[in-house]
Symmetry: C2
Subunit: 335 residues, 2 copies
């Protein structure tokens, strides 16, 4: 039987990693460690470069739409690597029959969000495929940014040391549940709104106030648990998280209990993990909290002095458990 | 009745232009004239940036596959603007159920073509959607390149003058007919092979031998006729083409007669239009012909001393006719 691609391989978890490692990385000769954006420093070029396809279903959801999501996602991928986003490309694959009004609304959201994030959309492409050959609209955005050499270390976390503090800029799981609630096939409506936002200005403030930011990553597909496991594997060190410190809004908690989801694995589109040197966490937290996009920031844990690449969750009930890398899919087409 | 997107709007002709102008350009504030790649020269960045989604049906065709096509297309978009392609991103939208072997073969083609073109694929993304929600595989490649300030004028043709010579690097229409022939629903097989190729090395030779290349463009979706009409509109000048000088292979001619296609409107993936200053055409032609990718190069016409933006075709029978911008679609999903 021939092996085929499954939805699991798009989930951002173990199977996605296996696919990327086995099919893409070795053939393209991409330098490891794998990050969401590439530092390009050769042949007269000194930029950060990233790309993402967006296939979110449905196109519109509380707090945003596929266009806003595409701009925020790409801006954030650049910003968490320590780069200043400068310009974006946008490529549209449109299903024949898409209402032109929907496209216009989505494009307008992209333009608005780009203006807010102070980036320019400078080039694009449009393809139309026959009805039934794609699902309404897919958007692929790529982005380029400039980076100060002082920040090169951030995306690979090479300055991380035991004792460094882990901070998130607000509550987790809202994006995934907002999208889920907007799906027509579900019988419930949630009060949850996607956190979809461009975080480059917020990140800029953090980098200005602290010269000791050791790592940042946006908590998208696969959620906090995936990012923590990727980080632990990358730096070869244990990470300790205090479950009670992880901010999760009450409606998200309630829905997760009802639906059987773990919010630590749910996608966010306006949340990042920041690793700051011990001692810098208070000023980082203060500057985050002074911004609407970081007002619910919390210190959630720290880098352990432990050579085992694993994530330990100190539960609210006083126990400890390993927070595993997700296997399989929680929610397809969340971004 | 609400207006919906039609296949015509993806054809590269008049309707595509209208869609791009009305929906994208004014909202994104993209500087006109529109070219396939953007010159980014601000905030510490000095690059050329381009993006294209590939939705070719079928994935495999004589002379290439969607992966090779994606790399060649993006490399060529950069190269015709006078840039040296440096690195590419690749984003994959995969339909659940795609044989992993097909994906591996396609990714390997991308790696091989990138090596041939001397570019690096440095970052990527993978999404998987449910069966029936996309057509096997779509790939979006973006590319960045460096550019010598001496070449900034090329993509907008600002040095074009009456008398400048138009050159193409070989026969037209092969890609479109190779893809058409490979479609299962068609009952014929053609001996035609796609011309899909990365032309950056060839273009590099041309730019080295002549400092008077006034414009270049790859002859993809919409073919030569579309590029000529776009050029005439951009420079506000007439263009004269000698039908008998336009190289078209005999099998392509035969198939076009049989199927009712005009090869001047068919997509190519390894062909470019070069506009060279009068007097430089012979040395440009010689260097093109010395390369396998340019061995069938021809001088096909010239820039007229005529303030009307139109393309005049001097037919083989001795008449003249206007070569119009295509309206509607010839072949969907050719790239």
């Amino acid at each position: 039987m021939s092996v085929t691609i499954t939805l699991n391989q798009g989930s951002g978890g173990k199977q996605t990693h296996r696919l990327i490692e086995n099919v893409f990385v070795k053939r393209f000769g991409i330098a490891e460690p794998l990050t969401d954006s590439a530092l390009v420093r050769n042949r007269g070029m000194d930029i950060v470069f990233t790309t993402d396809s967006f296939v979110v279903d449905p196109l519109f959801f509380p707090g945003g739409n596929i266009g806003k999501l595409a701009v925020c996602g790409t801006v954030n991928d650049l910003a968490v690597s320590g780069a200043v986003p400068v310009c974006l490309s946008a490529a549209f694959i449109i299903e024949e029959g898409l209402p032109e009004g929907d496209l216009v609304e989505i494009v307008q959201s992209m333009a608005d969000e780009a203006e807010k994030a102070d980036v320019k959309i400078v080039t694009g492409d449009t393809k139309v495929v026959e009805k039934g050959k794609c699902d309404k609209l897919f958007i692929t955005t790529s982005g380029t940014g400039t980076i100060n050499p002082d920040q090169w270390h951030i995306s690979i976390g090479e300055r991380i040391k035991p004792g460094d503090k882990l901070i998130v800029n607000g509550s987790l799981g809202n994006h995934a549940l907002a999208v889920l609630g907007a799906r027509n096939q579900l019988s419930f409506r949630t009060p949850v709104i996607s956190d979809c936002a461009s975080l480059n200005h917020l990140i800029g403030k953090v980098l200005k106030i602290s010269g000791n930011i050791h790592f940042m990553r946006d908590l998208t597909r696969g959620g906090l648990a995936t990012v923590l496991n990727e980080l632990a594997a990358m730096i070869g060190t244990g990470i300790s998280i205090n479950e009670g410190s992880v901010p999760i809004d009450d409606p998200v908690k309630g829905l997760c209990e009802m639906l059987g989801f773990d919010p630590l694995y749910l996608a966010n589109e306006g949340k990042i993990l920041i690793v700051a040197r011990a001692g810098d966490e208070s000023k980082v937290l203060d500057i985050l909290k002074s911004d609407p996009l970081g007002k619910d920031s919390h210190i959630i844990g720290e880098i352990m002095d432990d050579r085992r690449s694993r994530v330990i969750l100190n539960t609210v009930s006083g126990g400890k458990r390993i927070l595993e890398m997700p296997s399989g899919i929680q929610l397809p087409r969340i971004c």
